[in-house]
Subunit: 150 residues, 2 copies
DNA sequence: CGTGCGACTGAGACTTTGTCTCAGGGGTTC
DNA sequence: GAACCCCTGAGACAAAGTCTCAGTCGCACG
């Protein structure tokens, strides 16, 4: 992610904190910066590794809590996938995912037709939809090649 | 799920086992039956609770393994959601999910327009898509009511 | 610039979720 | 019914996530 985008994202975070009355701490800022630097879809533990390498005093619990709170105010999102660990996503604009069912890789996809998809009416469920995501499940190139050779 | 559908699903399972050369064991049958009886989207541990209540000798590891193997041969599926535990889904036909970001509830949705969505071309990623799912993320009725009163 | 409130943090214990090992058992095939 | 091979149970282990609580720090206010 380029420097400017990153700066803009950090400003958004500052603003949301002010609006929400949330204290803006060094640790949460470190977690956000790590997320913006990692553009795959890291697990909480991987984010912790990165943050801890820069400042070893940041504890695992804090990273878990920070990621949750960042996701709650919408500065980052949680990616959905069928693996066991939660994956976080620094992109917040609408986009979709290729999910490899073998290795749990998540690959970003943008597709105009998918983006143009109308959100169905879910009011009969009492459900308020904030976001529509399409998940394309399958097998990635590397895993297919591995299966073929075996 | 009605008795007939359930019987048909069990027959499908028997056939796939024969075709795949997989032994058809009592334990896996018990896991499948539990899945067909639970029509929410249970975690592996919840399935184990149900199976163990009927036959306390079935171990946790076996339930985990059985769910994995049932998913692998396509008799059940894994639901994708942002929570920490894998959720299994007894429905295998195309359908979509409302996912509550607060309580992790998963609600089935069918919508013709969503079903008619063409699978985008992902060959440039070397990715072979087997399944397209739409996930509508938001907040369910109960969680909204809880947040309003607080 | 102090002060006070309240939310945040670190450390580690704890819980939950999932995997592995290995000896023994049970399906399937012939 | 015998052989083969995968499956199973039990529990140890590993990975992922939560909780507790005393102490700290951000921020609003004066």
């Amino acid at each position: 992610m380029d420097r400017q985008t990153k700066q803009r994202r950090i400003e958004t975070y500052r603003r949301r904190c002010r609006e929400g009355g949330l204290p803006l701490t060094e640790q949460r800022m470190a977690v956000l910066e790590a997320m913006l630097d990692l553009d795959d879809h890291p697990t909480a533990d991987r984010v912790h590794d990165v943050v801890a390498r820069r400042d070893s005093r940041v504890s695992r619990a804090t990273v878990y809590r920070a990621l949750e709170s960042l996701a709650r105010i919408g500065v980052i999102t949680k990616a959905c996938h069928p693996g066991k660990a939660v994956r976080y996503d620094s992109r917040t604009e609408t986009h979709h995912h290729l999910v490899c069912l073998r290795c749990d890789a998540i690959i970003d996809v943008t597709d105009d037709r998918l983006d143009a998809l109308p959100v169905p009416d879910t009011s009969s469920y009492g459900f308020v939809v904030s976001d529509l995501r399409v998940q394309l499940r399958g097998v990635c190139r590397r895993c297919r090649e591995l299966e073929e050779t075996s």
